[in-house]
Subunit: 330 residues, 2 copies
């Protein structure tokens, strides 16, 4: 029998559709394998084409060149210049589109990706995330910062060169406000952070844990919204990603690399998104929120039901996906 | 300069990304045209294969055969048998997956679709929607009913035969509760229904109107979440789709056919979803909500930013899309 499971952070129910459920291996992708060289002359993110990106926000140097570069997004959704203004005219509410939108070029190699990179290099990428996250929040016009990755066309990018993005918006998204509201209510009811309670409960039950390291736990959410939806939670309470320490970064890099390599091997290099959900550094001491990283492989297509209800239909069993992910090599 | 526009129903901001914006015609699809016969022997929805669907909920007869059939979904997300039960164990909240999930087979022809069908036949489909909508709400285990259509693979279906779906869930989705909360707040603040106010304001401004008929107005939302996102609103206040009258159904069929034909011609038969957002017939007299139909062509891919923020980046200008939609032939 199908069941509905509640995601306590979004407060949305997910249908775990046992009648439609597939075995984990059935989500393997059938992609044409494509040979990619180290450097592609037409790629704006490859070494030698630095003038094709608009400016340089920062870089990590390596052997006379660079290993990571951050640039403003050439096709930015929001513009860094101008004043944040609100204009209200009847039912039309507008904010001028100021904000920040940067690209983190994760490697000088065109043909690598986080699943294949050494753990140390992933740690460097995460350090750059932290730097940009803290820095963008210093802009007084910015109220929320989102770090995310689009990998592959189904995940929203046609750029092959390994990269992620960071966006600072001039208003807190309603989705974010709802989540903070839900975790605050949980705290009101119990005196405990919802994510801290989730870590404890998942570790105690053990059925959905993929990795359990010193600082992090990687698991399939009880109410996973889609097959192979994965959460990486810091074990210690921490509201803001801006507070992550070097030792924790190394451990997060291990968790991220391992789980992305397992997805790469187990599902034949599927497209995916991930996102870091975090409070601002200004809310560093908050008891009500706890940052985490959420990975969503794009192995299924959402349809009208999801659009119309906000509820997801997950055609896999979180516990079976966990078993598969434990067994597949990293 | 980009701008953020507020969707007052979802209370979510949409980035209208002028820097990334494309001309409306650039969203045209490059699909391989495929010859489809009237009847496909392997299609479970074609005449002659009635035994491949599990039972028959209702049908409209035509010339010794049928023109519309409703059947339970063979791969139902929720099951019609069993008791609705809640089981709470610590952080795990579960509802047994009881509910209703039916398929509305819209035609006995495999190779047609709503953009090509006569208006009278679309009116018949809408009458069947109304029948099933009211009937499913009679099930005491059902708390919300969603009518939706997936057209094409990007919209979540691989079935070519024209069909739509209706799902009754054993719990009201949180997304739906948030919308009702927002429209109720608007009513508290103004003493007026938000959708009634939107109809008046859009008609007065006129810049986003595609069709204005006796009972309906079809327009591009001010804060359209994606290119060619379209709303069809009844002009008269009506909380529940279950109250629609025959004369209104004929007019809705005209609006729906016209706009789907314009999309079909203007964008070369793109994939799309639509959904009817409505209160239950039990809330028939509610002043706080107003049903409507929302169409989302799948001409762009959502990415990590949308996942992580709930905000959409729309790479088109709603007013330019309106001009294009007015000009393209139906």
């Amino acid at each position: 029998m199908p069941e509905l499971r509640l995601n306590l952070i979004t407060r949305e129910w997910v249908i775990i559709a046992t009648e439609k459920a597939k075995r984990p291996g059935e989500f393997r992708q059938k992609k044409d394998k494509k040979y990619l060289p180290d450097i592609v002359s037409a790629c704006p993110f490859c070494p030698g084409n630095e003038n094709k990106t608009p400016g340089e926000v920062m870089k990590l140097a390596s052997d006379g060149g660079w290993k990571i570069r951050v640039t403003p997004n050439k096709f930015a959704a929001l513009t860094p210049e101008g004043e944040r203004q609100r204009i209200n005219e009847g039912l039309k509410h507008l904010i001028t589109g100021v904000g920040r939108h940067e690209v983190i070029i994760e490697s000088n190699l065109h043909n690598t990706n986080l699943a294949l990179m050494p753990q140390e290099d992933i740690a460097d990428v995460l350090k750059v995330y932290k730097n940009r996250f803290i820095d963008i929040y210093k802009d007084p016009r910015i109220e929320h910062v989102i770090i995310f990755k689009n990998y592959g066309e189904k995940a929203g990018t046609s750029i092959e060169h390994p990269h992620s993005q960071i966006v600072g918006t001039p208003v807190p998204p309603m989705q974010v406000r709802h989540r903070i509201d839900e975790t605050t209510r949980y705290f009101d009811n119990t005196g405990e952070c919802l994510m801290c309670a989730t870590v404890r409960s998942e570790l105690a039950e053990g059925k959905r844990i993929i990795l359990d390291t010193k600082h992090f736990v990687t698991f399939i959410p009880y109410a996973a919204l889609s097959p192979f939806h994965i959460w990486i939670f810091p074990k210690k309470h921490e509201a803001s990603f801006g507070d992550i320490k070097d030792e924790e970064i190394a451990d997060l890099a291990y968790n991220l690399k391992t789980v992305l390599a397992k997805i790469y091997n187990g599902l034949e290099n599927p497209d995916y998104n991930y996102v870091i959900r975090s409070e601002s550094p200004k809310e560093s001491g908050s008891e009500y929120f706890h940052w985490y990283l959420s990975i969503v492989p794009r192995v299924v297509q959402t349809a009208g039901f999801e659009l119309g209800s906000g509820m997801y239909v997950n055609t896999s069993l979180p516990e079976e996906i966990t078993d598969f992910m434990r067994r597949v090599k990293a």
